[in-house]
């Protein structure tokens, strides 16, 4: 079986960019001090993590708030670059990283479908062919022609998931956004993902819902304190994780 995603000793630091908002003048007149500040004051979000995800696996990434899950997905999606180590991705990534991510608030739902599809790496023709299917899946009705800045969170999640899920994903990245959908739509999404799973699509899911993990994922990667704390079958890692929070 071939590899879909591989992290080798990946570290990610965030500098405290707020120094930069001190402005150009501050930068030019305090140059050496400035460089020292930037170097010293970085924040390590992930420290030398390694894992391999094979094609067709469905993996949950779990951990408490701020542990680095979204950062990990960002690197898989290629919008963030690691400071150390290697990230290897094999296949087209369909990321659902954040509500409204990849969409422009001023465009209508329909316009956003066309733009987002192309930004995700498909051709305009491919998007056009699937357009009706996406709109139908979203169940947004007439709202598809409204600017998405007027959408509720759930409507936004519907639109985003419908685009990604109907454009033949190869590697599906989902960061929590289903939580805002109503029960009906959540169920529909989970079913859709389950069917992708049987078709051999790689699924990487970040969620705080133990139910979703259990329903969909065979494997869990638990990130804690910027490192991988546990990586194994859901049946082993998930109970440990819930126990950790229960106590």
């Amino acid at each position: 079986m071939s590899i879909a995603v591989q992290f080798s000793n990946v570290s990610k630091h965030y500098p405290y960019y707020h120094h930069l908002s001190g402005g150009l003048k501050h930068f030019l007149f305090n140059f050496p001090k400035y460089l020292r500040e930037i170097r010293k004051q970085k924040f390590t979000a992930l420290e030398s993590i390694s894992f391999t995800i094979k094609k067709g696996e469905s993996v949950a990434i779990i951990g408490k708030n701020g542990s680095g899950k979204s950062t990990t997905l960002g690197m898989i999606a290629g919008v963030l670059k690691p400071n150390n180590g290697d990230v290897m991705v094999n296949g087209r990534v369909s990321p659902l990283l954040e509500l409204g991510g990849g969409f422009h608030p001023e465009l209508t739902g329909a316009e956003n479908i066309r733009l987002n599809g192309v930004l995700l790496g498909l051709s305009r023709k491919q998007v056009a062919e699937k357009f009706e299917q996406i709109v139908a899946f979203s169940e947004l009705g007439q709202f598809i022609d409204h600017p998405i800045r007027t959408y509720s969170s759930g409507m936004m999640a519907r639109l985003a998931f419908s685009v990604v899920a109907n454009l033949n994903p190869e590697i599906l990245l989902i960061d929590e956004i289903l939580a805002v959908g109503d029960a009906g739509f959540q169920k529909k999404c989970l079913e859709k993902m389950k069917s992708y799973k049987t078709q051999g699509v790689t699924i990487i899911l970040v969620t705080h819902s133990a139910h979703d993990v259990q329903f969909l994922c065979d494997r869990c990667i638990w990130i804690d304190n910027h490192k991988i704390r546990a990586d194994g079958p859901t049946s082993e890692v998930l109970p440990e994780y819930t126990k950790f929070f229960g106590s």
């Binding site: 965030y14 960019y17 930069l20 908002s21 402005g23 150009l24 003048k25 930068f27 960002g74 999606a77 290629g78 919008v79 963030l80 670059k81 087209r92 990534v93 990321p95 990283l97 954040e98 409204g100 991510g101 990849g102 969409f103 422009h104 608030p105 001023e106 465009l107 316009e111 066309r114 733009l115 987002n116 192309v118 930004l119 995700l120 790496g121 051709s123 305009r124």
Partner: protein, 254 residues
């Protein structure tokens, strides 16, 4: 993944996005791009011809021959500081070549400029300096240099503003200063002898003088054309070098 066909698709979709965000009404946007330089030309005409009696023949034609190309420059540069920021939701969460965003903006402003050329032709005919067949190659020649220059400067400003937010305020002042230091309202021949050598050092000036020569039926100064291209290439290299160093950080600083 990012082959030519896909880049073309991205350009199309990003252009459509710009069109529906910026010009809710296309016709109105076009009329505006024609009318606003004309309104300025009217004011400048009054100040410099009627009041100050600048010794410049065909001053109205002279003004709009400079104000239309300048409008392109100032529109494109004026948007540069906010261009990446106002597309942050796209940049933060999807991977695509970020330089396409400035490129799309500059393509649109350049098209607006091209659409103002018919007005220039009308003026030229009215003032008895009718367009010559040379325009066929002169306009694309100067257009190419200006496109490269404006795009590069836009990319540079847009990139740096993400890291130094206060650049936004400098840009406004910078464009205004550049406007008055560039022969738009006056002719380069009016610049005192001892400052003449400085003209090639101002990339805006080299471009604007070339435009005026083209539109007013004067022979091109090949030295200045050369300088225009040198400046454009210089800024293109610098802008892309800095962009290449910094673009991978765009998503995390927004």
């Amino acid at each position: 993944m990012f082959n030519t066909q896909h880049i073309a698709d991205l350009l199309t979709e990003l252009t459509k996005k710009e069109l529906s965000i910026r010009y809710k009404n296309m016709v109105f946007g076009y009329l505006w791009s024609i009318a606003s330089p004309l309104a300025y030309a009217f004011i400048y005409f009054f100040v410099f011809q009627v009041v100050l009696k600048i010794p410049q023949p065909n001053y109205a034609l002279f003004l709009i021959a400079g104000l239309y190309p300048w409008q392109w420059i100032s529109n494109s540069l004026g948007q540069a500081p906010t261009n990446f920021v106002s597309n942050s939701s796209l940049i933060k969460k999807t991977q695509f070549p970020r330089f396409l965003i400035p490129l799309v903006t500059v393509i649109q402003d350049s098209l607006h400029f091209l659409f103002t050329i018919p007005i220039l032709i009308l003026f030229a005919i009215y003032f008895n300096v009718p367009p010559s067949a040379d325009w066929i190659w002169k306009v694309p020649l100067i257009f190419g240099a200006q496109f490269l220059f404006v795009y590069s400067l836009h990319l540079l400003i847009a990139t740096l503003t993400l890291f130094f937010r206060d650049i936004e305020r400098f840009v406004q002042i910078f464009v205004t200063v550049a406007f008055y230091l560039t022969p738009v309202l006056y002719s380069e021949t009016m610049i005192p002898e001892r400052y003449q050598n400085l003209i090639p050092l101002n990339p805006f000036a080299t471009l604007l003088i070339n435009w005026k020569h083209t539109f007013l039926g004067i022979d091109l100064d090949w030295g200045l054309v050369g300088f225009s291209y040198l400046w454009s290439l210089f800024f293109f290299v610098v802008a892309h070098w800095i962009y290449k160093k910094l673009s991978w950080r765009f998503a995390e600083i927004m």
